[in-house]
């Protein structure tokens, strides 16, 4: 992979050029003491040294609410598919979120290709940045998601006075050539990048005491663990964990009709297995009507089911769920470690 250097003083002009020239640029900005991805109006808003964001950048590829079709009722109903997409630059995406997008790429393209996701994805450029100040609940090193080798067009690493830029695609290279002042990276600077990444690994506070490859098997034999009931007692079924998750991709589909009771649209919106009605069906049935089975199901998705279906873990260790959970039960690391301990 080719690497370049952008001096820090040249970063602002690069971002400004992108804002003015290419596409909508989305990046992490400050929000009430935290960080959130949002449209950048000017470079000054961009915070590349953030820990994590409230919501994951997947929301720009798989929006919380999205129209799928427009229809008109009548003797001969009219139906028109909708798949809106515009050029987008996601700037400052952390490696774990890049890994999560790689999972979404697979999930939304296998068996039944999802044109709404794929058309947005095709027009999106991902400019990553290494996470050097991890969120206290993150455990990326245990899952191999602290750094990324693929899934980006460009990847930045802050090495002090400058950024090393790894070029991940020709699209990324073109942007760099067109809009940034760069120079070749020296061996010393590449060594510095490694050293910064190593130092960052030491800043993670949560560790998984089991290798990710062993998780499906561990979960497989933990179905009857008392942990599920014990821990889920406090669950508020508030959905905070699934809403902030970068890998969750479940959605609900509903129709909305205009006041003329003729024209309408079918839309999808994020849904998730921790919400009480997620598995509710006609006739008042609910396949997972209690907190315990929902809590277990989510952990199985994160560590077993997704792996079995896509050969990728359903959790990237970002720690957002643990930070968002008022009941303090949502961290997959805590559950996996506990089950590991029980299995001894």
């Amino acid at each position: 992979m080719e690497n370049k250097i952008i001096e820090k003083q040249n970063m602002a002009p690069f971002v400004d050029n992108l804002i003015n020239a290419e596409a909508e640029v989305i990046g992490p900005k400050r929000k009430d003491g935290k960080y959130a991805f949002d449209k950048l109006i000017e470079t000054g808003e961009l915070c590349l040294d953030y820990d994590t964001t409230l919501l994951p950048p997947k929301m720009y590829l798989f929006p919380p609410k999205e129209t799928l079709i427009k229809f008109e009722l009548g003797k001969e109903p009219k139906v028109e598919p909708v798949a809106e997409a515009k050029p987008l630059i996601l700037f400052g995406v952390h490696p774990y979120d890049i890994k999560a997008i790689e999972l979404l790429d697979v999930a939304f393209s296998t068996t039944n290709p999802d044109i709404n996701y794929l058309s947005k994805r095709e027009k999106a450029v991902i400019i990553g940045v290494d996470c050097l100040n991890p969120n206290p609940n993150a455990f990326c090193p245990s899952l191999g998601t602290a750094t990324a080798e693929t899934g980006f067009d460009l990847m930045l690493t802050d090495i002090g006075d400058s950024y090393v830029v790894a070029i991940g695609s020709s699209k990324g290279e073109q942007l760099l050539t067109k809009y940034a002042e760069t120079r070749e990276a020296s061996q010393a600077e590449l060594a510095q990048r490694n050293s910064e990444r190593q130092k960052a690994l030491a800043r993670y506070k949560v560790t998984l005491n089991i290798s990710p490859e062993e998780l499906p098997q561990l979960l497989g034999k933990s179905w009857d663990s008392p942990w599920w009931k014990e821990k889920s007692e406090k669950c508020l079924s508030c959905g905070s964990c699934i809403v902030v998750c970068p890998t969750c991709f479940c959605f609900d589909v509903q129709d909305d009709i205009a006041l003329n009771l003729k024209e309408g649209e079918r839309y999808r919106q994020w849904d998730g297995c921790m919400l009480a009605d997620f598995a509710a069906v006609a006739g008042e049935g609910n396949f997972r009507g209690d907190k315990e089975s929902r809590f277990r199901h989510r952990m199985y998705r994160k560590g077993k089911y997704i792996w079995e279906r896509y050969e990728k873990l359903g959790c990237v260790g970002c720690g957002r769920c643990a930070s968002a959970c008022l009941a303090e039960i949502a961290s997959p690391a805590e559950t996996f470690n506990k089950l590991k301990e029980e299995s001894k």
């Binding site: 929000k31 009430d32 003491g33 935290k34 959130a36 949002d38 409230l54 919501l55 919380p64 007692e233 406090k234 669950c235 508020l236 079924s237 508030c238 959905g239 905070s240 809403v243 902030v244 509903q254 909305d256 009709i257 006041l259 003329n260 009771l261 994020w270 919400l275 009480a276 009605d277 907190k291 968002a324 008022l326 009941a327």
Partner: protein, 245 residues
């Protein structure tokens, strides 16, 4: 044939009916599909041949009970409109004081001319088919429920807590700002309007179907509220519920 609607008010501020009138453009379009035959807040002429009754307000006097029962008898569908009708609402604050004392505080020397009973939601008197919760109701949700009824569909209102919409609104959690909130047990559908505007959730939409109020109480305590503070929070809109007692 157009469906015939009626709007009825019991004890409340009439703010939810005013919200309906505030819909202006939508209301005109809605009139292509419905006849509003009874709406004291908006029109003088009244007929009692309504099929769908929207009922606002809580029940706080004996005399309201037969009137509500009569509406139930006439209407095929009864929809509770707003926090007072759905939950009892703020009127239930008086339930924690002797009724005589309430009368004396409000009416002074004239107290003997009035009667009052503990406030309650309309569902404690008659079966209610659907709910449009909130203080006041949300315009979009009212229209959504009404459209569903006109199409013969079951109206869907969220059965998940406000946290979902609050997170989607991009808000920093109220608890992370050192404050407290009833969002984790309160039914969504308001798009977390209070939190998005710098306040916290007061629970005006009532709880979700199966709220984990024990966990919520523990969390509130952990964030500095006393048992009394917690009860006071719940009692603002949810005084009729067991959780507030």
């Amino acid at each position: 044939m157009k469906a015939k609607l009626g709007f009825f008010d019991f004890t409340g501020c009439e703010g939810c009916q005013l919200e309906v009138l505030n819909f202006e453009t939508e209301l005109v379009e809605l009139l292509n599909h419905v006849d509003i035959v009874n709406f004291r807040e908006a029109k003088t002429e009244r007929e009692d041949n309504y099929e769908i009754a929207f009922v606002e307000g809580s029940i706080t006097r004996e005399s309201e009970i037969p009137r509500l029962k009569k509406i139930r008898q006439q209407a095929k569908i009864v929809v509770a409109l707003g926090a007072c009708a759905c939950l009892g609402g703020v009127n239930c604050l008086k339930n924690f004081r002797p009724m005589e004392e309430n009368l004396r505080i409000v009416y002074g020397d004239a107290a003997r001319y009035y009667d009052t009973i503990p406030a309650r939601p309309i569902s404690s008197i008659v079966p209610v088919d659907y709910y449009v919760p909130g203080c006041p109701i949300d315009k979009k949700e009212f229209l959504k429920v009404t459209k569903a009824l006109l199409l013969g569909k079951r109206p869907e209102i969220p059965n998940y807590p406000v946290c979902v919409e609050c997170k989607l609104a991009g808000n920093v959690c109220t608890f992370d700002k050192g404050e407290t909130c009833l969002g984790p047990v309160t039914r969504a559908g308001c798009n977390a309007i209070c939190i998005s505007n710098g306040r916290h959730c007061w629970g005006c939409r009532g709880p979700v179907d199966d709220p984990n109020t024990n966990s919520e109480k523990e969390i509130l305590q952990k964030h500095g509220l006393t048992v009394e503070d917690i009860l006071n929070q719940f009692r603002i809109f949810n005084g009729y519920l067991e959780v507030s007692k």
